[in-house]
């Protein structure tokens, strides 16, 4: 095997590990920031690592059937696969992985794969709260996909490509970032991103006090740990995707972390200070202003 193959294999190993570490650390930082906003001291930044290690080290775990056992594995498959098809760093063979064999449309569907796995697992438990959570989550997804796809369509039509790598290529230089080239698309996409991250006011799926954390209510121990791991990787994957599309991607890890962190703060800070929408309110929200912004973005491109 020549060196490029080894680099590729190294990339397959290093990418999910980085995504996990960064994603979990972001989770810890979010908890600290939330605490500071609420005038608390908050846990250490490493808290989420301890939580996940503790959950993995639980001696027992119960499941209610085959799909609950395999659901989290579906989820982790989906998140890692999505990550492999997103170019993490620009022009770096180590971090590109499979990104030339898929495109944005593929990613849109790949991201659903994990949700479907989790939904099947949650459905298998027989807990009514889980099913309610799934119904809410799926309905919410229909809501936020509309502005998100409008924004992506605007960009895809503008540059006549659906490939992320090519979109990154056209954003050479600070002023060429798509956030400046098509700001309306960015606004629509970032509003959809709020829903995608399931922070308040769009946290109706996992509402812990209302439906006992919804789909996750019967997951404990190792299953919950898998869910959290996949969630962390997925968070990072989504952030990288948004950075690649709108913020010009990143040439090195530090830039990537700065950009993704700033991007992540938008849903987090929105979430801390907001109450919760009901599902239909959330859907109608997404179908109003974000959709209008998305349509404006398309019209600007077309006219």
């Amino acid at each position: 095997m020549d060196s490029s193959t080894w680099i590729k294999i190294l990339g397959y190993i290093i990418t999910p590990i980085t995504a996990f570490v960064v994603g979990v650390t972001y989770g810890g930082i979010v908890r600290v920031i939330t605490a500071r906003v609420q005038n608390r001291f908050g846990p250490p930044i490493t808290q989420n690592f301890w939580d996940i290690i503790k959950l993995y080290s639980k001696k027992t775990a119960v499941h209610h059937g085959l799909m609950q056992h395999w659901g989290p594995i579906f989820a982790i498959t989906a998140s890692v696969t999505s990550l492999f098809f997103i170019p993490v760093l620009k022009d770096s063979p180590l971090w590109l992985n499979n990104s030339f064999n898929g495109d944005i449309i593929f990613l849109l569907y790949m991201m659903v794969f994990g949700s479907l796995g989790m939904a099947l697992g949650a459905g298998q438990t027989g807990n009514p709260n889980s099913a309610i959570g799934v119904a809410r989550g799926l309905a919410l997804m229909v809501g936020y996909e509309v502005p998100f796809v409008l924004a992506l369509v605007a960009i895809m039509i503008q540059f006549k490509t659906t490939s992320i790598a090519e979109l990154m290529a056209v954003q050479d230089g600070f002023s060429n970032w798509l956030i400046f080239q098509s700001p309306f698309a960015f606004i629509a996409a970032i509003l959809a991103f709020l829903g995608m991250m399931h922070y308040a006011p769009f946290d109706v799926t996992f509402a812990p006090a209302e439906i006992a954390s919804g789909p996750a209510s019967e997951f404990g121990g190792k299953y919950l740990a898998l869910m959290q791991t996949s969630g962390s990787i997925f968070t990072f994957a989504k952030l990288v995707l948004f950075t690649d599309i709108f913020l010009g991607g990143a040439g090195d890890l530090v830039t990537l972390i700065v950009k993704t962190f700033l991007l992540y703060m938008i849903p987090v800070l929105t979430g801390i200070v907001n109450p919760r929408y009901r599902t239909e309110q959330a859907i109608t929200f997404f179908w109003k202003w974000p959709t209008v912004f998305g349509i404006i973005a398309i019209l600007i491109v077309v006219l």
Binding site: T60, A61, V62, H63, H64, G65, L66, M67, H69, W70, I73, F74, I76, V80, T81, F85, N98, N101, G102, D103, I105, F106, Y109, M110, V112, L116, A119, L120, G123, T125, G126, N127, P128, A131, V134, A135, R136, L138, A139, V142, G143, E145, V146, V149, L150, V153, K160, T161, T162, A212, E218, G221, K222, L226, R278, T279, E280, I283, I298, V302
Partner: protein, 617 residues
Amino acid sequence: MISVPVILSVMFLGGVLAWLANRFVPKGASWTAAIIAAFAGYLVFALPSCGGEYSLALGSITLVWKSTNYSALFAMLVAVLGFLGILYSMDFMAGKKNLGYYYMNFLFALGAMLGIVYSQDLVSLFFFWEVMTWSSFMLVIYSGEEKSHKAGIKYFAYSAIGAYLILSAIVILYAQSNSFLLSENIKMFSGMSLGTQIMVISFLALGFGVKSAMMPLHVWAPEAYKESPSGFTAVFSGALSKMGIFGLGLVIFKFAANTEIFGYVRETLAWLGGLTAMLATFYAVIQSDAKKLLAYSSIGQLGYIIVGLALGTPLGIMAALFLTIMHGAFKAMLFMTAGAVYMRTGTTSLNDVSGLITKMPLTFLTALFGIISVSGIPPLGGFISKWMLYQALLETNHYFLIIVIFIASTAAFLYLYRFIFSFFLGQKEKEVEHVKEVPWSMLVPMMFLTLFVLFAGLFPGVILDPIGKAMGYLGNFKASWEPQVVFSAWGEKINMQVIAGTIGTIFILGALFIGYKNKKATRVVSTKDIHTAGEIPTENENLTYAVNFNQPFERAIAPILKWSVDKLFNLLGENLESTFEYLRYVYTGNGQTYAMYVILMVVILILFSGSIFGIHL
């Protein structure tokens, strides 16, 4: 030498044979039908894709049958699904009454479908079209209950409208071209006046649109699908509704392509298809009966196909034809699943059954692959058609249509999840304790189709080969693909080898290191052992959340649904329905009467065309 009449006579004579077999041998009908269907299927595959030509002169009318690349694609779909449907019916229909009648009509319907796709002249096309309608109508009213009669009448009334529109178009064409041959008419169509062109195209499009349940002509579909026996519903939705697509393809690319109004026709059909996809999906979301849900889903998927065809680019047509094949497979799978559940539990209501996964694991697997494929999640076959469709929409600058399609596609998760959740997941109730897996003759078709959608996802190129040939018949369309790679017009590619490889590798690694390792540290508990705030659920306590499952979404789309239900469809649907009440006096539902009408119409047609011809219009 295999030719088309051989295949058709095998089917039709086989139908009669099955009916006779039922009279003398118990279980004779099903075995006869299965053998006949298998034999006919073999003949269809053995028939050279450009050949088997046969013509028959009946006085002034010449009937021509021939296999083209385009018809071969549909014929293969019909043959495979027909055989699987009959195989499925063997145990599904066991013990029911009038099996001879069932299998005879089943084979007649299959024969008529093959006749339609092989017809090269308008008279035999129309004749087989009517035979197909008639035999499928007979199967819709098979159960003999009041509801099925109502559904049948509705189906028949709409089909009759469609048939008369097609007939009118044929008459107009004949008046202009003085020929019933398809090729002649196509050749002369561009020379006809604009008014004639508009009339013929709209008549034909509406007529074929009825069969493919294009909105607003879909009203018959949900109930007809629900009432027909599941073995046939798979064929009904998978293959029979594709005859409309077959016709629309001819209309768009053979008739409309050479006219000035080509663009308008395509835009109109694309938007009709898009709206069909979205509204039908919304209706599917609010259904509580599995077969009705699947029926609306089927209407929506046919909407996608119409959009793909109407785009008119190589990628669009490829997407449409690929989805035609895939939809035939996965909708047949889902209808067969619903039928299996119906067979074991006696209901198709999503609110009544739950927790069948441990009882019917293979049926569950079929349903799982089915819903993954319908929703277009990689790496199964549905994804590739969705991807090609979006690329085609993007390349043709249909910015807003793509949103409509995307809403439909995303909202599809809602009803698909509900379908699989309500039947197979959730609480395992006491009522399903006795349920067993369905017999092998039902499992074989389901498993075969499951493997097929997986294969189609991994090797889309293999299925794209015949589709490419069919596109060659429709027009000069060029597209490139490799066995595992599909390219878009913008130069994007989707490499299923890498995608499936990545997904498979990660899943297997996850399964080995996490799933298998965890398996030792984990235990299965009953679905009653759930977090209920410490309360202990009793044996009979119903904890399943199935009724009004999609209520949050229903509330959000209530304004849209209210508007369209009340204003558009009820007005249109009910008014039409009440109008068609009168048609009941004509269409008694009696086959003989109807056959008489058909003969009468043909006679009138000949007289009518003759007179026009006589005075040299």
